[in-house]
Structures are given as structure tokens and as C-alpha cells.
Symmetry: C2
Subunit: 491 residues, 2 copies
């Protein structure tokens, strides 16, 4: 293998041999553990439940209903086949005009109709993954840096960094202020980079936040816009979870702030990344959008579109679907309601056993505080606990360290990629794990006592058959090519 | 505008400001001329006929028939909707297993069943555009170089070079040996690069050739494989026109040569780029494939798939369609027949007026020899002639210079992206242009005499109302963002 690597490093690119793709993370190892032993209510009821995947599966019935009612929206139906040849042949990298208009309208709706988007600025990319890479290719050169509040989405290390050669500089956020981004922390990160002679080209915000599930308020957005403008650096807002907001405060898009601040703001420095993977739950369709307020960036990103155009079959379908205003309004309202319900049910279940989550109003996940379960406040302990949760509790959750969280003991747990029954099985497993003592009608969490006992005995709570530090079982698959754990393009 | 550029160059990347995207070419200007005044038999009978677009529109009826017979193959029909949620949600970057198997089988069929392809090595990318970039990212670093026989596909300058930062070094081929690639020319290009301290990482072959429409014979392929192996550099074979071969000699894939040479060949240096845009005529669907014999490249390219996955809606449809062996066999036979017929009709029409094309057996275009029409044997004359053809003859053909052809006077003219009637109108325009003197039943080409007259009088043959050197009319569109002429992702 050493020889193989040496041989390849002489003939392949650095990208192919330097392992900088960001997939060497427990975030992805957890998926592999799930893939090796996936839960199924009947076929594999003791399998791993996938809670590491930020998918939105709660509203497929609405989309399916719409499709059944609109056979003309597909080029592969008797009603739609007449458009087949024109659409299958269409490869203009501007995209179908109807598609761009529909996307712009959808972006308006998901931002409460408080702001308008220009279809001429809607640029296609291969999912948010492709959109994120595209915007970086447009803004920065190899070696340049972007500031990113941490914890942040693990695959940013691939999407923003891998092929572009830029650096990501974390702006550490922690539990002391509920992981809020302060201008002070941003300034410090910026100044430290300056001192190290690193050229900072911008700030990346994920709003709503993945993994926190929180939204940025108007004042924070204004302050960060002012900061980036003052330093003549870019502000890139990843708003792919815009329509997952299920509770107050409502979502505020950077586009709204720009509308307020037009007179004294350089719009050329502001860019939005969008996608339909989360808000519509259509990750397979690979719809990524770069929306820039800078003409030159729109122009350059459009040229880069060629590397990741959306299939015209898919553009055509979505153009029809998202132009149906009644459908979209109903979908957004219903999706928000269902997410709120699921979130409440899940977090209530956790609270019953004494597990707290960061208070959130958006996203497809909770930021679960398991600090009381750590043996020590270290990342080693976090990893040990994570292995127990994967191997014994059989839940694939994602440890905070994989999000570059600077404080051990937090885990992202996804709740919208499963049905009600599976959520309840997951909650039952957690309940059993932390040990609930039932007395009459009341549930008394004994999380803290359990933890003490666990520490004293160095035992795995109620799990005794397996080794405590047993590694995740990552058996090689039969393919001649090693399968990668990062099987999903984006989560 | 100067100020705008200066402002942007300080805040944007070099990619966004250095104009290295390769779109500043008459190849793309011609498309713009077409877009401004597109031919339509009824609405705009004097408009520009698009002969700059290598599209395969001859067999849509077969695909449409199949789709009508197989409603279950679409997730947007009553018959297929049950698969909607699973497919819309699927984002594994390996792709649907059925899709990869179907692609591997299709690649076998298009290579006459003489070689097998392993689905585990089929890696998705965003069209051939994305596949070409992906393979370069895997093989080479910024500053490295690839040898490319010229004339070559103009957008290689974008696809292979723009974001990867590699160089392309042309291996000049010319009419003296019918544009064949000789090992001598390859060796010279390689040695010259060595002398200039340029690190050559490989050789790119487009087989069948775009723009020549010719295929490489077995001996040439063997020699080039030996050459690249001996120098420990890569051989990348772009075989996206594999199924457009319509005449003998039959197509030989590099995969067949590898089968012959297994004992003394390093397969790790060999890679194939494939696509369904030409062979199936589905450029809108953005199916690009990297097929590498090197495990590390498969592994790395797969990770890069995330930036340009094929929509699962499209994967699902094509998995079903390409698994239908009877359909595929019939499609390939019929497509080849129709291309042969069209090619014969078109080249006969040209021959009647004394225009010769390079003898070809594949592709969706001819390599038309208009050297007799040049005022002088220079590229300036080629451009002058091209402007006449665009502006007055109203045909968008592509000048050889845009393919980096080293010899002036050749033009690529596409013949498969239109119906029979449009081909005949194009031929009539050409006939009128070169001036055919009819006498009884015989057509006597007077191309040569016309040319002499044209040179003497400095006149544009039979076109007198417009300026001879009139520029292509490229009026700006109404969008706030300048539209790019490279509207197609790949041709």
C-alpha cells in the first residue's frame, strides 16, 4: 500500500494523493457504520438508525400529489412527451428561462415575500456542493482564506477548500452565549489572520446554521455586513435551510438587509448560495444556486455552470412545480408545521431523559448537549461516547468535533429523515441508554447518577456485551475500488 | 469599464478576471450570431442556420417511442411515482447501481461488444465538460501540461485548463497526411516541452475526433499507448463520439488495445472520458463519465463527483432505458444508418459544387476544405471568409483557427442537428455562394473561377449589399448581466 501510494504520488495530482478531501472524519465514518448495519423496522430492527443525515422527508406526499395532478410537467409522460426533444437537447448554461424565474420566485417565497430576486442573477450549479465551490473559485485564489464561524458543516472542507486551494479559518463560537457569532470574535479571527500574512477574502455564514439550527438576527447580519464591507471582503451567505424555519424568530435573509442598507453598502461583495435539497427535500435532483449581487461574479459563475448544470429533465419539472404559487405556499406552510411538530416531539423526548438541546428554530437537526455524559471534558471522551452511541445505542449521530466545534460534548442529531415510528424507536434507545427510572406516572431522569456510576465503574451503562472502546466496524466492501464513507454529496 | 475591471481584479479571483475561460473565440461568436438571427423555415427563412452545434437530433423518435412504451421508467408518471421519494432523496455519489451497470453495458455495446466495462469504475460527472475537468484535477497540478493533437475541440481550453491551471500543448496535424497523428509529431511536442522545463503529464486523444470526424486505427492507438507508457505519462481518451461511427473502419476503443496489451502495459496510466450527449443525443441530461483503469483515480474522481452528480431523476430513466438491450441495439444500428445517410447526402451536395471534406467515418460534422476560397493562405483570410459565411451566406460554421488548426482554410460544419429540409436549404445557400453554373442535367462547379474573380475584384461573390469585412453583429442583450456566447456547455 505504501508502494502504491508512492507510485501514485509520482503520477497523479496532489489532490488525488494528499487526502485533503475532508472525508477522514467521524462524521462520515458514522455513515459507514450505518451503511454496514442499517436499521429496518422488520428486516433489521436492531440496526443503526441514521440520524447523521440532514434530509427532509416530511413532505414527499405533497410533491407526489402535485406530480400526479400535473403529468404535463414531465417530459416522460404522454402529456409531456411533445417537449422531450427540445428539453433533452437544451444545454444553454443560463438554464431554462422558466426554471430561473421559478427559482427566483421560490427564493422570494421562502423569504416571506419581503425581498425580490432577479432571475438574471440565478446561476445553476451541481447542488449546494457545486454552488459553494463555484463561488469560492470566483472570489479567491489558492492560499487565500475565508472566515467561517464554527461549528460548521464538515463537508465545507471539501466543498470550499479541496480543489480551490483556499483556507478556512474558524471563528470559534461556544455555549457561553449559545454559540452566537459576535463581531468581536470575527474581528479577532480576521486580525490574527492578518498577523500571519494570510489574505482573508471573505466571511462565510450558514444561515440558518448547520449544525446549530439557529438563525441570525437582523442586528448580527447588519454588523457582519458592515464589518465585511469595511474591510472590503466578501460576505457569502449559505441560505440552503431558509425554508426549514419552523418557529419564531422568522428567517432574515442577507438580501433583506441589503435592501435596508442600499445607500451605504457595496453590494458587489455579497453573495447567496441556495439549493432545493433541504427546503424541498430533493437532494437527488442536484439543484444548487449561486445568487450574486456582483455582475462579474454572475458572469464568471455562469461560465462555471458548465461543470455542473442541472439536468434539463429536472429543470423542466421544477420550473412547472415552483411556478404553481398555490402549491408552493401550501408546501412551505405545511413543511414548516410538520418540522415544528417533529422537532417538538423529539426534543420533548430528549428533555424527558434530561438531555438538553440548543434552543433552535430551524434546520433538520438538534444540537444535543451531552456534556454531562463525558468522562472528561475532552475530545477523546467525546469520541469514546460517540463510539458507544454508534456501536451500542445504534444511533448514527455526529460528534461536534467533526463540525470543528471547539467545546467537547455536543452532537448533531437529525430528526427529519425518518418516520414517526423510527423517531420513537430512537428515543426509546436513548431513554434506555441514559437510564430512566419510572415511578408511577412520572419519569425521573437519572442521567447524572448514571454518569457518576459509569465513571466509577468504567462501564458502558447498560451495555455489557461489547468492548467500551470498540472501534466502529468498518469492513471493506467487495468492490475493487475502496468505497468512500462520504457517500452523500451534501448533508 | 476599465475602472470596473480594476475594482473587480482587486476583490475577485484571477479566474474571474483573467479571461482565460476560452470563450473569446469565433467558435462562440458564431453561436451568438445565430442566436441573434436564428433560421426558422416559416418565421425567419433568411436567418442564420446553426451548423456550429454538434448535436445529434436524428433519433429522438426512437427514444420518445421507448418512453411512451415505458411509463414505469419515469418517477413522474402514475406508474413510476411510487419510486419518487426514494429516488429524489438518493444522493450517494457512487450513483444508482442500476445506472452504473446500464452505462457500463452501453459502453460495451457502443464498442461492438468487443470489450467489457466494470460498473465499479464508472464515475459520474456533469457532462463531458465536467468529466474532462475531473480527470485533469486527478492527474495534474497547476502548471503541468497535456499534449493535445490539433485541431481540437475549442472548449478544451475551458474544460481542461481554466480551473485546473494546466497547460495544453498542441501536437500540430495537417492536411499533408490527412491530419493523422504521428508518433514523430507527438515525440517532438513532448521533447520541446521537456526542453522548456514543462512537466508533461499526459496525452489527450479525442477518438473519434472532433472536429475531424475520423477514428484512430489500432496501430496508431498501440503506438501512442506505448509512447505514453514508456514516458510514464497518462493517456486520456475522450471517446464521447464512439457511437457516431457510421462507416468503416469500425471504432477501436483504447479499452480494446489494453485488452491486447495487458502483459506489458501500465493500465494505471489509461483513462476514458465518456458521455451520452453525442451518442444518445441527450446533452441536456448532463451525463458525463470518467472511466479509469487506475483505482486511485476512480476513488478521487468519485469524491469529485459530488460537484457534478447526474440528477437521480435522469439516472433512473436512463438506467431503465439503457438496460433494454433490444432498444439499445436497435437504436445504435438505426442511429449509425441515419448518420451515414445524412453524411452522404450532405457531402455529396458539397462535392457537387466542388467543396471537398476530409474523408471521415464518424462524428456529427465534416471538416470542410475551403482553402480554394481563401484570398491568401492566412488566418486573416480565413476569418474574412468566415464573416462572409456567417453574415451573408447565413450559415454558422466554425473556422479551423478556433480548433487551433495550424493550417488556414478548414471549417467544421455540423450536419446532424437539423432536419432534411434545413440541410437542403443550407446546401442551396452554399451552392448559391460558390456559384454553380447549371447546364442541362449537369452541375459544373465553378468554384475555382469564382475564386479568381473574387480575388481580382475584391468582391464578395454574389453578395453585394453588405460590407465584405462587416463584423458579426453582436448586439448586447437586454439582461443586466452580459450574456456569454458560450451558451452551450459542450458541443
Amino acid at each position: 500500500m505504501g508502494f502504491e501510494n508512492e507510485k501514485n504520488s509520482s503520477i497523479l495530482s496532489k489532490l488525488a494523493t494528499n487526502e485533503e478531501h475532508g472525508e477522514n472524519s467521524p462524521y462520515f465514518d458514522g455513515w459507514k457504520a450505518y451503511d454496514n448495519d442499517p436499521f429496518h423496522p422488520l428486516k433489521n430492527p436492531n440496526g443503526v438508525i441514521q440520524m447523521g443525515l440532514a434530509e427532509n422527508q416530511l413532505c414527499f406526499d405533497l410533491i407526489e400529489e402535485w406530480i400526479k395532478r400535473n403529468p404535463n410537467a414531465s417530459i416522460c409522460t404522454t402529456e409531456g412527451i411533445k417537449s422531450f426533444r427540445a428539453i433533452a437537447n437544451f444545454q444553454d448554461y443560463h438554464g431554462l428561462p422558466e426554471f430561473r424565474s421559478a427559482i427566483a420566485k421560490f427564493m422570494e417565497k421562502t423569504r416571506g415575500g419581503r425581498v425580490t430576486f432577479d432571475p438574471e442573477r440565478v446561476v445553476m450549479a451541481g447542488g449546494a456542493t457545486g454552488a459553494n465551490e463555484t463561488i469560492i473559485f470566483c472570489l479567491a485564489d489558492t492560499g487565500d482564506a475565508f472566515l467561517v464561524p464554527s461549528p460548521y458543516y464538515p463537508a465545507f472542507n471539501r466543498d470550499l477548500r479541496w480543489r480551490t486551494g483556499v483556507q478556512l479559518i474558524p471563528i470559534p463560537c461556544d455555549s457561553s452565549n449559545n454559540f452566537q457569532i459576535t463581531t468581536k470574535a470575527v474581528r479577532e479571527a480576521y486580525e490574527n489572520a492578518q498577523k500571519s500574512n494570510i489574505k482573508v477574502k471573505g466571511l462565510i455564514l450558514t444561515n440558518p446554521s448547520n449544525p446549530l439550527g439557529t438563525t441570525l438576527d437582523r442586528d448580527t447580519l447588519k454588523n457582519l455586513l458592515t464589518f465585511t464591507n469595511q474591510h472590503n471582503i466578501h460576505l457569502v451567505c449559505d441560505e440552503i435551510y431558509a425554508a426549514t424555519v419552523f418557529n419564531t424568530p422568522q428567517f432574515v435573509s442577507i438580501a433583506e438587509i441589503l435592501d435596508d442598507e442600499t445607500s451605504h453598502c457595496n453590494k458587489d461583495l455579497v453573495h447567496i448560495v441556495y439549493s432545493l435539497s433541504k427546503d424541498m427535500g430533493l437532494p437527488g435532483f442536484r439543484v444548487g444556486i449561486v445568487y450574486s449581487f456582483n455582475d462579474a461574479v454572475v458572469n464568471c459563475a455562469r461560465k462555471m455552470s458548465s461543470f455542473g448544470l442541472v439536468s434539463t429533465q429536472t429543470q423542466y419539472l421544477l420550473a412547472e412545480m415552483l411556478s404553481d404559487e398555490r402549491f408552493v405556499s401550501n408546501f412551505l406552510t405545511e413543511s414548516s408545521k410538520r418540522l415544528a411538530k417533529r422537532h417538538k416531539h423529539f426534543t420533548n423526548g430528549l428533555e424527558e431523559v434530561g438531555i438538553k438541546c440548543l434552543r433552535s428554530n430551524a434546520g433538520l437537526f438538534c444540537w444535543m448537549d451531552l456534556r454531562p455524559l463525558l468522562k472528561e471534558s475532552t475530545f477523546d471522551s467525546e469520541m469514546s461516547l460517540w463510539r458507544v452511541i454508534i456501536n451500542d445505542v445504534k444511533l448514527n449521530v455526529s460528534p461536534g468535533s467533526s463540525f470543528d466545534c471547539q467545546e467537547p460534548g455536543f452532537f448533531r442529531v437529525c430528526f427529519a429523515n425518518m418516520d414517526d415510528e423510527t423517531v420513537d424507536i430512537a428515543l426509546a434507545r436513548i431513554r434506555s441508554f441514559v437510564g430512566v427510572k419510572k415511578s408511577g406516572d412520572e419519569s425521573t431522569p437519572i442521567l447524572m447518577e448514571k454518569k457518576q456510576q459509569w465513571k466509577k465503574n468504567n462501564l458502558r451503562l447498560s451495555f455489557s456485551k461489547r468492548m467500551y472502546d470498540e472501534s466502529v466496524n468498518l469492513s471493506p466492501l467487495s468492490s475493487p475500488i475502496p468505497h468512500s464513507p462520504l457517500v452523500r454529496a451534501r448533508t
